[in-house]
């Protein structure tokens, strides 16, 4: 792009020298957003609508003839115990992880909201795991959970306890995935809370100290109210993120045992690429999208409320 294409040059004739940008709307300004919009429309908007269309087809991955089926896929979904199970699992997983992310994240942030070297190192440790990829994290945790040879089993045996079979007991598989997830990405909520804590003026704590407030009182009366918004952001962000559980479950438990840890996204993946039921998979995707959209909407309203405050 040269300057000439972007500068309107309206008044150029009047003044000999080249003139710069002017205020106000110009069509040429749209050129700045155009490149991104191409990607946005082609790779997000189009597939979104194509997905909605596909969800109303009965189509097989390798069958060129797909026929319109209306809402049949959705009807089938709502009667599919496995799918309902995956929704339930996902919700359970969210319920298991999000409160922990908030509680532990906040606790760590509170403890590490200091400027010394030790705290910096500790922050680095807790955040460091977040940069690992899901495959590596699951390899590491398989080694922790392995029933016979895993670290946890060995440790429990050492303490004379019967090892707990985490990933192989229906009731413990999802918690095991949750623990792995928390270990993996606790750093993010911690950092978000840290950032929020650092926004709280130190003077407030000093005023409270002069007001005879105990540490605990300061926490309830100053810290908590001050980070309300971040709390909300973290909660919603984590809900959205954890609803998209896939890799940990696929690699750690394959959704088992007995579907106990199968999340929605794994269901979508398996319907699509194992059962070749594209329409069905697309319909499940749309349900996921709907849930996410509600969460996003909640976030939008939450953040708007802040502006009004």
């Amino acid at each position: 792009m040269t300057d000439a294409t972007l500068s309107p040059g309206k008044a150029v004739a009047a003044v000999k020298r080249p003139t710069g940008a002017s205020i106000g709307p110009r069509w040429s300004n749209a050129l700045f957003v155009a490149p991104y919009m191409v990607f946005y429309v082609v790779l997000l908007v189009y597939p979104l609508f194509k997905g909605i269309w596909m969800s109303m087809l009965e189509s097989d991955m390798f069958d060129d003839t797909s026929k319109f089926a209306g809402l049949a896929n959705y009807y089938r979904l709502f009667n599919d115990k496995i799918f309902i199970g995956t929704v339930w699992n996902t919700v359970l997983f969210v319920l298991m992880t999000v409160p922990v992310f908030v509680a532990i994240g906040l606790l760590l942030a509170l403890a590490l909201n200091r400027s010394d070297r030790t705290s910096a190192t500790l922050r680095a440790i807790f955040f460091g795991t977040s940069v690992l990829s899901v495959t590596i994290v699951t390899i590491i945790w398989k080694m922790m959970y392995m029933p016979g040879n895993g670290a946890i089993a060995s440790l429990m045996r050492l303490l004379g306890l019967e090892p707990i079979a985490f990933i192989t007991t229906a009731s413990l598989a999802l918690p095991a995935v949750a623990i792995t997830t928390i270990w993996w990405i606790i750093g993010l909520p911690m950092m978000l809370f840290l950032a929020a804590l650092q926004q709280i003026p130190g003077e407030l704590y000093e005023a409270a100290a002069l007001d005879n407030a105990s540490r605990w009182r300061s926490f309830w009366s100053i810290t908590l109210p001050s980070i309300r918004r971040t709390m909300l952001v973290v909660v919603i962000y984590e809900i959205v993120a954890q609803f998209q559980l896939f890799g940990q479950a696929q690699l750690l438990t394959q959704g088992g045992p007995n579907n106990a840890s199968r999340p929605i996204v794994l269901f979508i993946y398996e319907q699509g690429f194992r059962s070749w039921n594209l329409g069905y998979a697309a319909a499940a995707s749309e349900i996921l999208f709907l849930i996410m959209a509600v969460a996003a909407l909640a976030q939008f309203f939450a953040s708007r409320k802040r502006v009004e405050e």
Binding site: R17, G20, S22, I23
Partner: protein, 361 residues
Amino acid sequence: MQVSSIELDSVSKRFGSVEVISELSLTIHSGEFIAFLGPSGCGKSTLLRMIAGLESVDGGEIRIGGERVDRLPPGARGVAMVFQHYALYPHMTVFDNLAFGLRNIGTAEDEIARRIEEAARILEISHLLKRKPGQLSGGQRQRVAIGRALVKDPKAYLFDEPLSNLDAALRVRTRVELARLHQQTRATTIFVTHDQVEAMTLASRIVVMNARKVEQVGTPMEIYGRPATEFVARFVGSPAMNFLPVQVNDRGGLASAVLGDGSIIDTHVPVAALPGGDLRVGVRAEAIRVRPDGALPGKVEVVERLGDRTHLHIRLMDGSTLVAEDTGISQVQPGDAVRLAVEGATAHLFDAGGLAYHARQ
């Protein structure tokens, strides 16, 4: 040097449904140093930015050097602006900051170097040319910002509160430097400020603005000595002018103001010009002195010692308060009962609408 006059011809501006400038007309002569003075939000910056081309004009015309400019992009108007926060390009060296505008219009590099050298010499920033803005003190940035305007040899300089970011001491120094600079260049200059001291000390004429309109245009001494309205009288001068409700008697053609407690201030305001209705007398603190033979009794509430002067906050018998001035070595203490002498010659009268009436000149 290409100095030009600036004419505003019933210029209007609205933001959404709010009119911030309404049919404002003003002529700024070539070479004048004009200050726009007014409270926050009165539209000073907006007006300046309209002249610069940074806000569109909703009605009226703007002419610079006779040429109509209100449809031209900012760069084409040939004016230079110094922003409140300097708006230096943080990632460019001082030299490049100064050169940017010149390069954009294709000025030859040796000409650029020459102009920058000259400007840097005048502003004493020659040794800073290789630094980046982040490595400069507030005052140095200020000068670079001025330098950026200077090298362009503009038709007019526009300053938007250029001193408000400096600390008190530096502000005073820079004020003096700006005055000196204008004496050297004699360039048309508009200076926006809400600080009356700045306006008074710098400008050859002051435009006092309030809400969407101009309250008064005049030299500093006219503004201070003969404020056109109560708004101007209150806004200019520190401490603010004292206002007291009065009854007026005719005393040889001049108004004699009778205060609530019966004491009298003999003003020099011609009684003929006065309207009916409620009137107030306006007197500045320096015209009210503590004197054993003063006519006005009162009780000192607060004593503010400024070193060279002392301000006394005094409650009168009728409960109203006013501020009087005393010398730096004043012996008055809070709680003292004092008598005040008011110098009637510099007193003004204001009618219910806030319009001022002055002594004949």
